[in-house]
């Protein structure tokens, strides 16, 4: 008994020492604050990372996940949720961590390769089996009698990608900004319901059976097939879409306070490793690594992808012109238009 107690106190002592010298095996906790559709991806990735970190970092990494709308998640972090890393839907929401609370440096997006986006996605169409309305490309969405389901770009990050992809298509085929606006306005006239988030829209389309085509993240479109039955829907890839780059970053102020910088940085770097890229590919995100991408090439249809930086001059500009109050999206809903 005495011996046992002695052993225990020695252990406590040892732990105390090792914590101060940061040498030995301890648990380390990480909080990854992410957006809705990455749930399955990070469940798998966290397991792989825990094994990886046991070998390389000699620590047991316990990673917790938090999911929700991208903007809401960013606000939670700004208001004090102690996220070590954030993995959100668009750079605009991570920019806010700098703009609103200075939790990260302004140039956060240059710290990791590929605009700090270890995997990408794009926007595709999900249509009902047999494609009864024969929807092939963006210009089919503005035809009378076609109902389009998308969430509201003002409340959903994913919906902003949808809108911008449609804009880019129109710009390419119709030329001017005015024509593009006309095109997008026409498209939104065909939208009967604007859910506040992507999962809500998917429910409207899949379970309420409303609409002919659902504008979706590519990975969500694959998941919909898994969830609601592969015989119910088809994926249609349009001629042009947008390269959606969901970026990641360490939250500097939080990791410095929690003493987790090393493991948090390793966590994000592991996303870029072969193993991390494999997991992304398996979960229907397009891997960045050319070798892994080649392996998954049969899954993802080749499509012309424009980027937000080339086409719109970055998120800050795009947000301001299109989605802020008084922007173009508001204009197309003004009565009389």
């Amino acid at each position: 008994m005495l011996f046992k107690n002695l052993k225990k106190s020695l252990l406590v002592l040892a732990l105390g020492f090792s914590a101060s010298s940061a040498l030995a095996q301890t648990d380390v906790k990480l909080l990854n604050v992410s957006y809705d559709p990455t749930r399955e991806l990070y469940v798998e990735f966290n397991k792989a990372f825990a094994e990886h970190w046991k070998k390389t970092g000699k620590q047991t990494a316990i990673v917790s996940q938090s999911h929700g709308g991208s903007g809401k998640q960013a606000r939670a972090v700004i208001e004090g949720l102690a996220a070590d890393v954030v993995t959100l839907a668009l750079a605009y929401d991570i920019d806010a961590l700098y703009e609103e609370a200075k939790l990260i440096p302004q140039d956060w997006q240059t710290r990791l390769p590929n605009n700090s986006s270890p995997y990408t996605s794009t926007i595709v169409f999900l249509v009902r089996k047999g494609n009864p309305k024969n929807i092939k490309d963006w210009n089919d969405l503005v035809k009378p009698g076609v109902q389009v389901i998308t969430p509201n770009p003002k409340t959903s990050g994913g919906a902003r990608w949808n809108y911008l992809a449609a804009w880019a298509y129109a710009k390419k085929h119709l030329g001017s900004d005015a024509n593009a606006q006309e095109f997008v306005a026409q498209l939104f006239k065909n939208v009967p319901v604007l859910d506040s988030g992507a999962r809500g829209s998917l429910t409207t389309f899949a379970q309420r059976e409303i609409g002919d085509v659902f504008l979706s993240w590519e990975n969500e479109a694959f998941l919909a097939g898994k969830e609601f039955g592969a015989d119910k829907f088809e994926i249609v890839v349009p001629s042009l879409s947008i390269l959606a780059e969901p970026p990641v970053t360490v939250v500097d102020k939080n990791v410095d306070k929690n003493g987790t910088r090393k493991v948090a940085e390793a966590y994000l770097e592991f996303l870029y490793s072969k193993e991390g890229q494999e997991i992304a590919g398996k979960n229907f995100y397009r891997p960045r690594d050319p070798e892994v991408a080649a392996k998954y090439a049969h899954v993802f249809t080749k499509v012309e992808l424009i980027t937000i930086d080339d086409e719109f001059g970055g998120w800050q500009k795009a947000q301001k012109a299109h989605f802020s109050d008084g922007g173009i999206f508001d204009a197309i809903y003004k009565p009389g238009n």
Partner: protein
């Protein structure tokens, strides 16, 4: 000099008043003060521009209108439900009584999804309504339905105890003195339950004005058509426009405050008139 203190079974007036004001400040007053402080980081000009934006005005009309209609429906049907629960004994009464509380207990998002599933054009009820040209889900009517649903317990639970207190003998006395049923209802019953009814109406209305979770699923959220004010507040937050969100919240609060004030005045007037 008469004291404001009245003898009471619980001693310690000073202590309990101190606690009450501290508690009320902590739970209600401080958050409200923070809200106003946030809203008035805007200049007057910005505040009014946010508050009077046409899209915001359209949303007030929907939020307040639907909450008003919902509370009105509850006023009538909630009264009937309370009446039946108090005055009659029937098989399954306990179950009905418990069901009334369900809208309190149910997470609002669940309520919204359930109502949408029912009333969507393919839903159980929607498939019968849509051939008649009645659109519930994804229309203003859907907002009314959701707000009626969540507001029902407020009316029933405020009216029920008052009805229980009301003695049947009074009605019998009225009848034996020759009053018609309608007369008895109007002159005897209604004045007694009116204050409780109005309170229930006000609670149901106030709850409906701020409701977000259940409405966003059923309304369809089309700007200028089925967009409620709380959703506009969320869209402001999405743009990290905290002050703009607070400004809209202050407007809603103002409307609710005015309505509660009116109802209080009405209650005061009615209790004076009936000498209660």
């Amino acid at each position: 000099m008469p004291s404001i203190r009245k003898p009471s079974v619980i001693p310690g007036f000073g202590l309990s008043l101190g606690f009450a004001s501290f508690y009320a400040s902590l739970i209600v007053f401080i958050p409200l003060a923070a809200l106003f402080a946030k809203a008035f980081t805007l200049t007057w000009d910005e505040f009014w521009r946010t508050a009077l934006d046409p899209q915001a005005v359209a949303s007030y009309k929907l939020s307040l209108g639907a909450a008003f209609i919902g509370a009105g429906v509850n006023l009538i049907f909630g009264f009937i439900v309370a009446w039946v629960l108090v005055r009659y004994h029937f098989f399954g009464k306990k179950v009905v009584d418990a069901l009334v509380d369900l809208p309190f207990a149910l997470p609002t998002a669940v309520a919204g999804i359930a109502l949408t599933a029912l009333y969507a054009p393919q839903g159980w009820l929607g498939q019968w309504l849509s051939p008649l040209g009645i659109k519930v889900a994804y229309a203003p009517l859907g907002v009314v339905v959701a707000l009626t649903f969540i507001g029902l317990p407020f009316v029933v639970r405020t009216v029920q105890p008052v009805l229980e207190e009301l003695e049947r003998e009074i009605e019998e006395a009225a009848a034996s003195l020759g009053a018609s049923r309608w007369h008895t209802f109007r002159k005897i019953l209604l004045p007694a339950v009116l204050p409780a009814l109005l309170t229930g109406f006000a609670l149901s209305f106030a709850r409906g004005v701020g409701e977000y979770g259940s409405v966003v699923f059923i309304s369809g959220n089309m700007p200028f058509k089925t967009e409620i004010t709380p959703l506009l507040i969320v869209t402001k937050l999405e743009q990290y426009n905290y002050a703009g969100a607070a400004a809209l919240a202050v407007v809603l609060l103002g409307f609710s405050f005015v309505l509660l004030l009116l109802i209080n005045m009405l209650q005061y007037w009615s209790s004076k008139r009936t000498g209660g």
